[in-house]
């Protein structure tokens, strides 16, 4: 399109050139595909959170035992865990600079729990269980693994194997879990790790397994995983029977780091105080189930013009054509008749 070069056009051009380099330039980046947008929205902070994902990885040196421990934990949490196979040299969770890699991985995989295994002479079979808040380290518990027995070493009826994703029971035995700070912390972390999603409705037929933790002393916890067999009893409530199924190990608490107070306060904020949004217009009936009302405003039938894609027009046109033809014939007849 031709643009006549007048004085005004020149001015506009000059103004544009000057505007081309502002001091700070920000660009709005949005995901270009719907799929990417959905992924990003999944990772956004929500009011009510769904289950946390776990990241399982190991450091420079791992022992045989530790490798098995990590794989078995991964199998226990198959749906919502990510296992890294490479060794990571620069991750040292308890040192101030050694957590950047962990935080980066947490950001990329959207995992807020991690299990980091390493083996050294000073700390053999070391597991660091940690949590993240906003992809920064929240708290850590360092635990040593003793007397590990893998899942394969247990013999049981194969029908009892717990299924992946079923909600587990927890049993914490021992006064240490209330009195000793480290064990309290470990209890919280274990609960968080193996809990799965927080659900409102539980299917009673799907009760499968239980994690039993016993405080043997002020620093050791005997951890085991058992399947549940529901036996018929006289009452409506079945009798529980525990059958040892999963990995069992002794956890020796070595170090732990609690979150600082401000971070803790920030992370513990809930929305319990605020009133929930009321869903209007929905009610439930015993016979019909969930019912809702749809309100349609009055249609101004006379006012709207006819749209192109109304099928009813066909019949009208057809009839109109018929009457026209009939009318013409009649007119012809009349003409001929008059002649």
């Amino acid at each position: 399109m031709l643009v006549m070069p007048t004085s005004r056009n020149h001015l506009m051009l000059r103004r544009q050139r000057r505007r081309r380099l502002p001091l700070t330039m920000l660009k709005i980046k949005t995901p270009k595909t719907q799929r990417a947008k959905r992924e990003v929205e999944k990772r956004a902070p929500k009011l009510v959170e769904s289950g946390k994902k776990t990241l399982i990885l190991h450091g420079t040196k791992t022992s045989d035992v530790l490798n098995t421990v990590l794989t078995q934990i991964y199998h226990l949490k198959r749906d919502n865990a990510v296992k890294y196979t490479k060794k990571n040299e620069n991750i040292r969770p308890f040192e101030s600079g050694g957590e950047t890699s962990l935080e980066f991985f947490s950001l990329k995989t959207d995992c807020s729990l991690f299990v980091f295994g390493s083996h050294s002479k000073k700390r053999p079979n070391n597991l660091v269980l940690g949590r993240m808040f906003d992809h920064h380290i929240y708290d850590l518990v360092e635990v040593g693994v003793d007397n590990f027995r893998p899942m394969e070493s247990f013999e049981y009826d194969k029908k009892l194997t717990p299924r992946i994703g079923s909600k587990p029971f927890f049993a914490f035995v021992g006064e240490g879990f209330e009195s000793v700070e480290e064990l309290k912390h470990l209890k919280e972390v274990l609960l968080d790790l193996f809990r799965g999603e927080v659900v409102e409705n539980l299917n009673l037929a799907g009760i499968d397994h239980v994690f039993v933790c016993t405080a043997l002393s002020s620093s050791t916890v005997f951890f085991t995983h058992c399947a549940l067999r529901l036996k018929r009893s006289g009452t409506a409530i079945p009798r529980m029977e525990l059958v040892e199924v999963g990995p069992s190990m002794d956890l020796v608490v070595r170090r732990h780091r609690l979150p600082n107070d401000s971070l803790k306060k920030e992370a513990m904020k809930t929305t319990n105080g605020q009133p929930k949004k009321k869903i209007k217009n929905v009610s439930s009936d015993v016979l019909q189930g969930k019912i809702g009302k749809i309100y349609i405003p009055d249609q101004k039938v006379g006012g709207i013009a006819l749209s192109n894609d109304v099928k009813g027009l066909k019949r009208e046109r057809r009839e109109a054509r018929k009457t026209k033809v009939v009318g013409e014939n009649e007119a012809k007849k009349r003409k001929t008749a008059s002649k």
């Binding site: 399109m1 643009v3 006549m4 001091l23 700070t24 330039m25 920000l26 660009k27 709005i28 980046k29 949005t30 947008k37 990003v40 929205e41 956004a44 902070p45 929500k46 946390k52 949590r131 808040f133 906003d134 909600k167 029971f169 927890f170 049993a171 914490f172 035995v173 021992g174 209330e178 209890k187 919280e188 609960l191 809990r195 409102e200 409705n201 539980l202 299917n203 009673l204 037929a205 799907g206 239980v210 039993v212 016993t214 043997l216 005997f222 085991t224 058992c226 549940l228 409530i237 079945p238 529980m240 040892e244 069992s248 979150p259 920030e266 904020k269 809930t270 013009a305 749209s307 192109n308």
Partner: protein, 315 residues
Amino acid sequence: MDLGNLMASDPTHHFESVPSSRFELTRACLEKGTELVQAIANAVFALPSTDDPDGPIVRLPPPTTTLPREKHLPKPKPPTKWELFAKMKGINKHKKDKRVFDEQTGTWKRRHGYDRVNDDKDIPIIEAKLSDEPGEDPFSKRKAEKKQRVEKQEKNRLQNLKQAAKAGALPSHVQLAATALPITGTLGEAPKKASKEELQNVAGMAATATASGGKFDKKLPGEKLAKHAGKYRKFLPVVEGKGMSSQEKQQTAKILDQLMSKSCHGMLDVNKAVTMFNVKKEKQRKKEKEHKTSSAASKLKPKKKSLKKSSKKKH
């Protein structure tokens, strides 16, 4: 007991002596575990259940042990500039129909998209107004106006997003990325364009990075020689000629003098002081002579600009 998490803990249990054998230990632990699990199961099964084809479903109470969140609570978005304005003026949002009746064609058209109502491009004739200049193209003017409006809207949108980002409530699918670093200081304007001379010198400057200082590089047609071709070091002759004072001695003496003069502050350089004094005196004498023999010719003489630094300082 925490029903929401299906957790039970027994704080009263106490191992007086840890059983020595592993088997005994596991047995004791499982016993205690069974007790606890039975307790939870009793409570859970006691809850009201609804029937489902998969099995009875109970509604669990919310968990009592609070565990920390994974991410921070989402912050409410601050209202945009338009929203504030609308609230102040009392303008309410009205839902718009997807199909709108187009007066021009007399058909129903969609509001946005292909073949839309009131499209800017579809106007066939624009009537000329008295205020229009004869040489102006109204169609391109409309186009330019629309472009400006769109740019303004983008700028406003960016400002709103920046405000939201400041409050920590940026929408999750939006990221603000800096495309250029902020430039501060007096050089904040457009980068200086290289002049013709600078560009001509660039090749020469780059050539000095070679071992031979760019002396033997092939020259392009039209390229001028570098100002200082070759290397900058000067080596003294190995064998000294007769009659010359030792150049090496001169070189070292020069360096020494410079060093000494720099280090001794305040001490008078006699030679320099003497020459300065003499020069000043001569000038004074010249001036006096001029004043004595002042004539019209001398007055009309153009004032000689003195090239000395001291004279500049006075001005």
